[in-house]
Symmetry: C2
Subunit: 370 residues, 2 copies
């Protein structure tokens, strides 16, 4: 069961990175993507969401970008007299963040113009299609929290492990205040860098807090696997080693080293895609540890699973409108019918990608720790 | 003058990334580099310091790696029947970290097997040649400090700016203790990520503190330029905008948001290469702000520059033995002769690269804030 669900997330991840809106002629107002390396003019995006690529490889026979119309088609670039390969997506891309890579003469590389983000078990190129609602994760002139890299001891895996901890503005100065904690997991093929780098979890929180829309809380993000990650190894995934790291090593370390409210009602777990599956399993295994559960494009709860356990204070289930929103709504309706505080959220016009999850976090945060 | 020195650092950076020891036949005990992406078998390194590359590009005509014997030669890879290009450096590399990139059919890309590090104004591939003294920056089972990403307001540049702050083990739990601060700058073409990612500044400190060899202190690392960085733009570099960011925006923010000892005798500035030039200029401009100065492969002080100013408590000057150690020693002798507390350090068998700077920080830290 678990393996089948995991495999479904892998397939969803692989297919959805090429999602497209309808095609039309691009307007010539292309600008460099906000995720470009310093000083790099390409890749570019226009006001409609088209992406344009330009890559120097004067002696190559073929250069193709993985972003493009549906499936695995991608965008074939064509070579100019100057040795640069250029091309524009055949239609506008969905708003938000997309992973991609470049196939040059049969080998898979990254676009030297773009910054890299860990996804699909490799550091991929990233591009940002400006979204109509991008203000909620913009870098603004508001008080900013910090993202702390911690290295916590882990006897179960025999090595110090890395996590990132978001501490809200004021954490460093108001030394008496204690905070609730959200444990927030990435998806398959990603790692503990995803929620800050691609997800802008810190900026989402900074902006919500500045607007007085959420309680300040800590967010802890760690790597959700303990085995060696390789293509095809997903079937060997078991939850137990990660559950041990999370509940017997990381949580006690965070509670000992940060000013936390150390109890169930002030501890939440959420995850996207595979991280949702992990959240689902671990919250059901450890209902006394977490008071709030959230699955972002990562499975469903049904009332039978929850009964006879400590009752969650909130169950939040979300996905993109291009995923399976009916299933999310149906699950939440059933939970409500059984007396649970359940909330669904559907991100409009997005699929199994980070824009769905940025928006989901933005919706979820104000509901936590009430 | 400043521009000439800066240009020299740029040239040094470009030339030194290909430094080599003497050639011989490699021993066949190659293992994946410690900086590889998860699950990646190549690039590999052997016990003598040879590097071996293997890159998939079945239809390419030419694949070359920038690491190789002296100058800009690099290592030409040869294509096997399986479509993979392989090659081994003609000799052992210097110990420690090296940036590199891969030229495929005339275009510059990264090795998809390696993690990326910002240097030479691009995210480059990185490889680690195991060093005989690598224990001092190894990830060990000792208490670990945190590396915090902060976003501090900057009126002078009109945007929040990023810095990383190392806080030592115990910082989160002993809430009354205040700490000295080292402001530590990267080199040309690098950014605020360099000292943690490539330099392991946090691990160097964790290990020194665990061994009781240094006082715990904070390290603050921010981006040392304010202009747009492009090739050829180095001549336009002026120190004033960065000096304003550092001394009127970042230092007050750190002092307000961290538990610092807010005075000259508890504040040091150090930098590598171009960051050394910046340290040199800013400490001479603001002798009342910093009590400890350190230049790592980044210029020299002479007694005339320092006279009639607040006296530094320590001047530390270092470089690799493959750079200009005589100049470093002569400068320090002159400073000592003029009554200054000056110390030189020469890293054996290394050049203008991060192993020199890791070792320099390891030597410097125990001398600070005495």
């Amino acid at each position: 069961m678990t393996r089948t669900i995991l495999a479904a997330f892998v397939v969803a991840t692989l297919l959805s990175i090429n999602c497209f809106s309808q095609a039309s002629q691009p307007t010539e107002d292309f600008k460099p993507s906000s995720l470009n390396q310093p000083g790099q003019e390409y890749p570019q995006v226009n006001s409609q969401g088209y992406a344009r690529f330009r890559i120097n490889a004067p002696k190559a026979d073929s250069v193709k970008v993985s972003l493009g119309l549906g499936g695995r088609g991608g965008t074939q670039l064509t070579k100019g007299a100057d040795g640069y390969w250029t091309g524009t997506t055949e239609g506008p891309m969905d708003e938000g963040f997309h992973y991609y890579n470049v196939t040059i003469d049969g080998g898979k590389f990254n676009d030297p113009g773009a910054k890299n983000y860990y996804g699909s078990v490799r550091w991929e190129s990233g591009i940002e299609i400006p979204a109509h609602d991008q203000d909620f994760y913009a870098l603004k002139d508001v008080p900013h929290g910090n993202v702390q890299q911690i290295l916590f001891p882990s006897k179960s895996t025999g090595t110090p492990r890395r996590a990132f901890v978001y501490t809200p503005p004021g954490y460093e100065t108001d030394k008496s205040k204690k905070y609730p904690v959200l444990y927030l997991q990435h998806g398959w093929g990603e790692d503990e860098t995803a929620w800050s780098n691609q997800g802008h979890a810190n900026l989402i929180m900074d902006n919500l807090i500045a607007a007085g829309k959420t309680k300040p809380f800590l967010i802890v993000m760690t790597y959700g696997m303990t085995n060696e990650v390789k293509w095809g190894k997903i079937r060997e995934f078991k939850i137990d080693p990660f559950q041990t790291v999370l509940t017997t090593e990381l949580i006690p370390y965070v509670d000992a080293n940060f000013r936390t409210l150390d109890n169930r009602d002030n501890r939440a777990m959420a995850g996207l895609s595979m991280g949702g599956m992990e959240t689902h399993t671990i919250t059901l295994n450890k209902p006394e540890t977490f008071g709030y559960y959230a699955l972002l494009s990562g499975g469903l709860y049904n009332p039978d699973e929850l009964k006879d356990k400590a009752k969650p204070k909130l169950v939040f289930i979300s996905c993109g409108s291009k995923e399976r929103p009916d299933g999310v709504k149906k699950s939440v309706d059933e939970l409500k019918g059984a007396g649970y505080n359940a909330v669904s959220y559907v991100s409009q016009d997005t699929g199994h990608e980070f824009q769905t999850w940025r928006r989901s976090l933005h919706e979820l945060a104000p509901m936590l720790f009430k």
